[in-house]
Symmetry: none
Subunit: 147 residues, 2 copies
Amino acid sequence: MASATPPPLPADLIRAAGAKVTRGRVRVLEALHAARQPLCHAELESQLGAGEPGIDRVTLYRVLDSLVGHGLALKAVDTRGVFRFSATGAQRQHASHIHFRCTGCGGVFCLKAEPPPPPKLPRGFRLGEVEFDVRGTCAGCSAPDRA
Amino acid sequence: MASATPPPLPADLIRAAGAKVTRGRVRVLEALHAARQPLCHAELESQLGAGEPGIDRVTLYRVLDSLVGHGLALKAVDTRGVFRFSATGAQRQHASHIHFRCTGCGGVFCLKAEPPPPPKLPRGFRLGEVEFDVRGTCAGCSAPDRA
DNA sequence: CGCCAAATGCAACACTGTTGCATTTATGGT
DNA sequence: ACCATAAATGCAACAGTGTTGCATTTGGCG
């Protein structure tokens, strides 16, 4: 389906999101885009540390937080309680659609479906965001060749 | 009317599961049964530590693992990456309903409302739980207009 | 009662994530 | 192109969560 749209450069995505374009952010976002599964901090650290300069442990945490804060990455928790990060496709607003969270790999998938209307709240409660979270196992983790 | 099933004592459940009946296990299982929400290690520790003898930190971890291993408790990960435990009997009540999370105080409230029907999933995806997460501010946090 | 495996308590450790602060760097103004 | 500035980085130290090793206690049994 992606025929007329050229692959967006991570640097442009970062700039468009209103964040400084730094080497660390570009490399992390590249790694997240290249990954087919959500990556945790340790995996990113070893993967990027293999390069020339390496990335500081704390800087990597802050880079990831920055990407998540600017909507360029999604943060989830895997079954072991470790945060995993995945790149969002284009700059998307995940305000009005459904998220599917894989309990196996921690991946977040955006479903093409309308979220249901918000329920009525008790008195005094103020509505913020409505998130329809569907959990289960994605196609990769449901593969039958795993006992 | 009166009761279809008498409430089983935690000690009997533990014995029936084939585990030694110890004070720690009974107290933890009682706490899990009494709780209307899954509890994390820290919450259990402070709750049980308020009693007379208190429970060792490590022992509590091992008690929880033991309960999970014997099928008396369920282990899950919350959004912050912390393990939460619930008694197996109590899980059915909270299987699928709506949670309201207050972004001010972090409290979780269970709304009496039917969860919406699950959406259709892509091929290969297996549906686990459907969680309708509504975020906002609760009555207590909304009352004083702090901007 | 007495045995023994299991459970406990204590200390120390490993891993994940965070905070403070000095230094470097990306970006806008001139 | 240069400089100023605020943000980003690197380093050190810390905090929270969960685990392992080992000596001691205890539940369950004959």
